[in-house]
């Protein structure tokens, strides 16, 4: 049994949320540069330029890339030989978020109740997902999730007979309907299979993977490429003002499902797709 003080988790969560809000991920930055050269729309090129310049300013001044510093999503992979000591793990995570958003000058965007809508003032509570795995390590993955793109995400319970074409159609329809709203160029997480909630969770987890890494299953790796090509052929372009850069990446996660079902979830992220991880 390995003991880990929850204070370490708290500090890690705090640091990850601050860093990820200030510093654009390298994989996204590389893709922005690549697409800036490929983009055929003049407005599109100019927008991509400003997005890159913005990332430079944020990193230099150590301020948020985007004012929507998101609702905090935390994935915790806990080794089964780990024992947390020193307090409540959930509270430690929320304390880390509270500190990050207060000390890091990040926007507090969480309301306590979806109907009453009173701001909690510290960006808590977090959405926390736990997963128990073998070993004695803890992997902390965090994602400050902006809602311009979250609002454009969708889930559908397809019929098995709808097959791959049904999946492609649903993803294209979702991206098309979203248009300029999720701040294209976007990153798309797709969850295929499982149950209703499993598909949504896989779609979110897919956004944690770097966009230059294809799914290790070659069928899904190919499907990611096919989807990216067809999405960029939609013409939506940077900020929905036309162009070939609608998406920078498509990541798919798949899981076993029921004989009667083919759930598909599409979780959209804006170009400021922020995520980071640490292993303790």
């Amino acid at each position: 049994m390995r003991e880990i003080d929850v204070k370490i988790i708290c500090e890690t969560v705090k640091q990850l949320f601050i860093d990820s809000n200030y510093n654009l991920c390298q994989d996204i930055r590389n893709k922005l540069n690549e697409y800036k050269d490929l983009e055929v729309s003049e407005i599109g090129k100019e927008i991509l330029d400003k997005i890159i310049e913005n990332a430079d300013i944020a990193a230099k001044k150590q301020i948020a890339i985007c004012q929507d510093t998101g609702m905090s999503v935390v994935f915790l992979e806990v080794g089964q030989e780990v024992c947390f000591i020193g307090g409540d793990i959930n509270e430690a995570i929320n304390m880390g978020v509270r500190k990050a958003y207060n000390e890091g000058f990040l926007r507090k965007s969480v309301v306590a109740d979806p109907i009453e809508r009173k701001n909690t003032g510290d960006n808590t509570p977090s959405v926390i997902h736990y997963n128990i795995v073998p070993g004695d390590k803890v992997k902390v993955q965090i994602m400050p999730k902006g809602f311009g793109s979250e609002n454009m995400s969708r889930i559908k319970m397809l019929k098995p007979a709808d097959g791959v074409e049904g999946i492609i159609d649903f993803v294209l329809e979702t991206v098309g309907k979203a248009g300029p709203n999720p701040c294209p160029p976007i990153i798309i997480g797709v969850g295929i299979g499982g149950t209703f909630e499993k598909a949504a969770l896989m779609a979110k987890r897919a956004l944690l993977r770097p966009i230059d890494k294809r799914n290790s299953d070659s069928f899904y790796g190919q499907l990611e490429k096919e989807l990216l090509k067809r999405i960029n052929d939609l013409g939506i372009g940077p900020q929905g003002m036309g162009g070939i850069t609608t998406a920078l990446g498509v990541n798919i996660e798949a899981f076993a499902t029921h004989i009667a079902g083919l759930p598909v979830a599409v979780n959209i992220s804006c170009h400021a797709s922020r995520h980071m991880e640490a292993v303790i």
């Binding site: 490929l38 301020i63 948020a64 985007c66 300029p180 709203n181 190919q222």
Partner: protein, 196 residues
């Protein structure tokens, strides 16, 4: 080519702006988003005055991060405008001349813009750090308890905007994407899509 414009907006300024024009906007604008719009609409329902006179003004759909000490403003990019569609036609009737945000507007808003000569500018979503540097002053005018969602008076200098929908109803979001449909596949060099 940028067109330089000062607020408050004059009718003739609005009339000459066409969808696709690049604008550098300077002067006073007001930031307000979901909660402030709701409050303002409630005030109107109760027959109360609004905290600001909307005539010839520009509303920026945004809610900022807090500023670091010594800085005027924190990151301050646009939010999705569609959520304010419910409120915009009434504000346009009261004289609102310009809106800044990102994303599409519904037909009610566009009809109101045509009827009362208003313009909708798109700011680039997700460049809040860039926009922060263009803000010369920031002052909460009303609803301070809403934090980032308060009604805030801003002075901006050379805020780069694109006319997304003009006062004749020309809409960049409708006209532009179709010009690029299928263009990606035609490129000789495509983006590196990564290894399987």
């Amino acid at each position: 080519m940028y067109i330089r414009i000062m607020t408050p907006l004059k009718d003739e300024d609005v009339k000459k702006l066409k969808a696709g024009d690049h604008v550098l906007l300077s002067g006073i604008i007001y930031s307000a988003r979901d909660a402030a719009h709701k409050r303002m609409q409630e005030a109107l329902r109760k027959g109360q005055d609004l905290p600001i006179n909307l005539k010839d003004q520009v509303i920026y759909y945004a809610g900022p991060c807090p500023a670091r000490p010594g800085e005027i403003a924190g990151p301050y990019g646009p939010t999705t405008s569609g959520r304010m569609d419910k409120y915009a036609p009434e504000f346009i009737k009261l004289g609102l001349k310009g809106m800044i945000g990102k994303g599409e507007r519904n037909s009610d808003v566009i009809e109101a813009m045509i009827a009362d000569n208003a313009v909708y500018f798109a700011a680039i979503g997700g460049i809040g750090a860039y926009i922060a540097a263009l803000i010369k002053s920031q002052e909460v005018v009303a609803y301070e308890e809403l934090g980032a969602e308060a009604l805030i008076k801003l002075e901006v200098e050379d805020f780069p905007l694109i006319v997304a929908i003009d006062s004749s109803g020309n809409n960049l979001y409708t006209t532009e994407p179709e010009k690029y449909t299928g263009r990606y596949s035609l490129l000789e060099d495509k983006a590196d899509m990564g290894d399987d």
